[in-house]
């Protein structure tokens, strides 16, 4: 019997049974979403409000999100703090709750988040009672500003959105994990389950994965693979892996003969 450690994950006033957050974009069909929710066991799902048409006569992404999922609308498309704030307010007014993932991107070429605008939006929205999840470059100073602004978690990118290139910002994310007293949810760039596992092993609290699941040949199976990887990474983190060494640890050490003697037989 393996002794299990207590590992609850509570965020934004919610107790979550999964540390995998998923998205709704890029699927060949939104009708896959319920099955992906099921296979991943995820509890949180992000949705770009700009894509939601509440009066749609056509298929609408919201129809496919199971009611037990915690919605985390995002401000994708916002170029300024002001636009992000207006999207957040619209999300709440249309019944999407008070969780909001702030994405302010002023660079369409690299899709990198604007830390300054993100902090401004976070400060205002937290005062309005939103649970704010800001998406940022893993920058310690921006993260500290966000802590002061009242964010409930920090969402640093592993690599630029949609690149699937993995945790390229590992060292910077490790600094956030060590120094920031908020949950760290690694978002963007995670292309393979092993990347998610790596982030969790390092001590991230959760990962948000969209592109890698949505654009795989089998999103349902890939979702399951990510859920497994995140669980494995988290368990490894909790199990506290043995330290790594630069040199081999010989089983017959050359210096094993040394005793605390003074050469006297």
């Amino acid at each position: 019997m393996i002794p299990m450690l207590e590992d609850s994950f509570e965020i934004g006033g919610k107790k979550l049974s999964s540390r995998l957050f998923i998205g709704t974009g890029k699927y060949a069909s939104d009708s896959m979403i319920p099955d992906v929710c099921n296979s991943t066991g995820a509890c949180v799902i992000t949705v770009a409000l700009r894509r939601v048409d509440f009066n749609a006569i056509t298929d609408n992404v919201m129809q496919h999100i199971p009611s037990h999922m915690q919605l985390m609308p995002n401000t994708s498309g916002a170029r300024t703090a002001d636009e992000a704030i207006r999207i957040a307010r619209l999300a709440r007014a249309t019944g999407c709750g008070n969780w909001i993932k702030i994405e302010v991107i002023t660079d369409n070429k690299y899709l990198l988040p604007d830390g300054y605008q993100t902090a401004k939006a976070t400060e205002i929205l937290t005062k309005e009672g939103f649970a704010v999840f800001p998406y940022i470059n893993p920058d310690l100073y921006v993260a500290r500003d966000l802590v002061n602004a009242g964010a409930v978690a920090i969402m640093p990118l592993g690599a630029p959105i949609g690149t699937n290139r993995g945790i390229r910002t590992e060292e910077m994310i490790n600094i956030l994990i060590d120094d920031i007293d908020l949950p760290i949810i690694v978002d963007a760039g995670i292309g393979k389950p092993s990347h998610a596992c790596q982030a969790m092993e390092a001590g991230a609290d959760a990962c948000l994965v969209n592109t890698a699941i949505a654009t795989s040949e089998n999103p349902v199976l890939m979702g399951k693979a990510f859920a497994d990887a995140i669980r494995a990474g988290r368990n490894a983190f909790l199990a506290k892996a043995g330290g790594t060494r630069q040199f081999a640890s010989a089983s017959s050490p050359l210096t094993g003969f040394i005793r605390n003697h003074e050469g006297l037989s």
Binding site: S29, D30, V52, D53, R86, N108, K109, T215
Partner: protein, 367 residues
Amino acid sequence: MSFFSVFEQYQTMDIENVIGHMNQQAVLRRLNKNTLSIDDFAALISPSALPFLEQIAQKSHDITRRNFGNTIHLFTPMYLSNYCNNRCLYCGFNHDTQIKRYQMSLDEIDNEAKVIASTGLKHILILTGDAPKKASISYLKSCCDVLKRYFSSISIEIYALDKKGYENLIQSGVDGLTIYQETYNTDLYDKLHPAGPKKNFQFRMDAPQCAAEAGMRAITIGTLLGLDNWRKDIFFTALHASWLENHYPETEISIALPRIRPYYGCYQPEHRVTDQDMVQMMIAIRLFLPRCGITISTRENESFRNNILKLGVTKISAGSSTAVGGHSLSSVQHNQFEISDTRSVEQMVTFLETNNIQPVFKDWERF
């Protein structure tokens, strides 16, 4: 600094010759690069790249899927007015063409909008000829007031404006601009536009950056393929798009690839653009500009459109009419050009869904 000064520098080079002399080694060197320069792009659109078309297509497909997912954005054009002061030799709305001229009233626009919106479309592209006194800025602003009730995004394809003009329309709810340079060959441009405001090549070239400076969210540029050697025109289109991306990173830049189609006056294009050429330019653009939108209109036929959807395209028009009030007016108007893919929005959606591509109707929320 404007793109025109960059264009002038490149104009001194014999681009056609440079592209024509790329060899297969030059292409191969570029195939494995992650970030491409304009020189690399020139290699990919050269005749020497043709043996590697499938490899480039696979890469283009992967990049598109990663950046845009398994989705295609849908929109449709709405022709508001066909009055025009230009004499563009290739255009059905040319001032000298003997066609019925008409401009929709606001009530007619409301009806047209209702019909289009009933298909589920939320993005509209409004078009006029170049007649600012008739299809004036204040007329367009009033049109936007009507259209805002039905559509979450309004783009314009009208005469070129300065920054102030674009600011004015943005305030009324316009968020996208489509503007074609038609050709980057200045001599040919001069011949094709014998009279009218559009004759000013540089004013037209400056329009996309004026719009970007005015705060336009999305800008689509392009040439009318078939007017000149496509390799040369696409080289400059990509150079222009790349320049806009670098100088206005907050703006979404797209390239449209319209191939010339017959119209009422029967202009005969001098340069052939084959399906293979279309594929080559599209996938080369994707490798050079991974985040750039690529638009294909209903100028292309059904079979071709079906086959290129996985190659790099991100936006398509559907259920199109190129006549003023083409969706709702009972009197028959002349088309700007003949459309080739006549499928309705519903038929297009069915096709996309059957092929595991999600049709996206809405991608912006106006406040």
